[in-house]
C-alpha cells in the first residue's frame, strides 16, 4: 500500500509530502504519524508541504487535525513551506488553519521545534 515516509531525527518526526495525496493516503498519514509520535516518544513533528500545489479542505483538515492530535499526545507540530498561492486559496476557502504553527521553510521550522535560533 502506498505510504508517505516518516523520518525520525532525535525527538522529532519529519514528513515531506511530495505527492498529490488522495484522501485515503492523507488519512493513512494521519494514522501513521499519531502512532509514531507515541511509539517514538516524539516531541515535535515537522510537516513539509512545499511540494503541494493544492491543499483543499480535506487535506487542510487532515493537517489541522494532526496538529491537534499531536498536541494531545504531547508533541508540537510545525507545517512548513506552504506556497503563497496555496495560502491565499486556503484562506479564501475558509480554512485559515487556526492552531497550526507554521514556518516559511524547513530550517525555520526546525528552529521553532528545537528552540534554537535559525542559522
Amino acid at each position: 500500500m502506498e505510504r508517505i515516509p516518516i523520518l525520525r531525527m532525535g525527538k522529532l518526526l519529519l514528513v515531506t509530502i511530495q505527492v498529490d495525496m488522495h484522501d485515503r493516503l492523507a488519512m493513512t498519514l494521519q494514522d501513521d504519524l499519531t502512532s509514531r509520535i507515541v511509539k517514538d516518544g516524539a516531541k515535535g513533528v515537522l510537516i513539509d508541504i512545499s511540494s503541494l500545489d493544492v491543499v483543499d479542505s480535506f487535506i487542510g483538515r487532515m493537517i489541522g487535525d494532526t496538529a491537534a492530535m499531536a498536541r494531545v499526545l504531547d508533541a508540537e507540530t510545525v507545517v512548513v513551506g506552504m506556497q503563497p498561492s496555496v495560502a491565499i486559496t486556503l484562506v479564501e476557502l475558509g480554512l485559515a488553519l487556526p492552531g497550526v504553527r507554521t514556518a516559511l521553510n524547513v530550517e525555520k521550522g526546525m528552529a521553532l521545534l528545537t528552540g534554537t535560533a535559525p542559522l
Partner: protein, 165 residues
C-alpha cells in the same frame, strides 16, 4: 522568492475576485461538446482531475493563483460528487464570451440531490462529516457558480474561471 511580486499578486487576486463577472452566461456551452469528460468514482480520480484541471488552466494562461483556486474548487466539487452524489462525471469546456476565454467544469451526478441549496452553500453546514466548506468555498474560488439539483435525480454544478484581460 522576493516579497514584492508576492504583494502584487495579492492585489491582483483581490481585484479579480471583487470584479468577477456574476452575470448569467449568454452564450453558454449548451450544445458545445465538452473538451474532455472525466469520471469521478474514486479518490484517485479526484487526484487525476486536479492534475487535468491544472494542465488546462496552465495551457489557458491563468495566473498561478487562479490556477490554484480553480484546481482547489474542482477538488472540493469532485469530492462532493463522489461522497454525496455517489460518483459522477466532470465535463471540461473551454468557453468564450466577449473576447474572453475561460475554463468551465460541470459536475454531474445522479445522486439523491440537495434538498436545501442555500443551506448547503452556507459555510459550516454539512450533511456528512466534512467541514461544510466545499460548496461555499468552491463558489468563492470561482468567477461563476451555478447549481441545479432535483431530489432523487441528481445534482449539476457548473463553475467557470475567466482569464483576466
Amino acid at each position: 522568492m522576493s516579497t514584492i511580486p508576492g504583494k502584487t499578486t495579492w492585489v491582483a487576486a483581490l481585484s479579480s475576485s471583487t470584479n468577477s463577472d456574476k452575470t448569467p452566461d449568454p452564450t453558454g456551452p449548451d450544445g458545445q461538446p465538452p473538451d474532455e469528460i472525466m469520471p469521478v468514482r474514486s479518490d484517485e480520480q479526484i487526484v487525476r482531475l486536479r492534475r487535468l484541471v491544472r494542465e488546462k488552466a496552465v495551457a489557458q494562461g491563468l495566473s498561478l493563483i487562479d490556477q490554484t483556486k480553480f484546481v482547489t474548487a474542482a477538488s472540493e466539487l469532485a469530492r462532493n460528487t463522489l461522497i454525496y452524489g455517489g460518483g459522477g462525471d466532470v465535463h471540461l469546456y473551454t468557453v468564450r464570451r466577449n473576447g474572453r476565454v475561460g475554463l468551465r467544469l460541470e459536475f454531474v451526478d445522479n445522486g439523491p440531490g440537495i434538498a436545501d441549496i442555500p443551506r448547503a452553500l452556507a459555510d459550516g453546514y454539512t450533511s456528512g462529516n466534512g467541514l461544510g466548506l466545499g460548496l461555499g468555498g468552491a463558489k468563492r474560488l470561482c468567477d461563476e457558480f451555478e447549481i441545479r439539483s432535483v431530489l432523487g435525480e441528481g445534482t449539476h454544478v457548473s463553475v467557470t474561471k475567466w482569464k483576466p484581460f
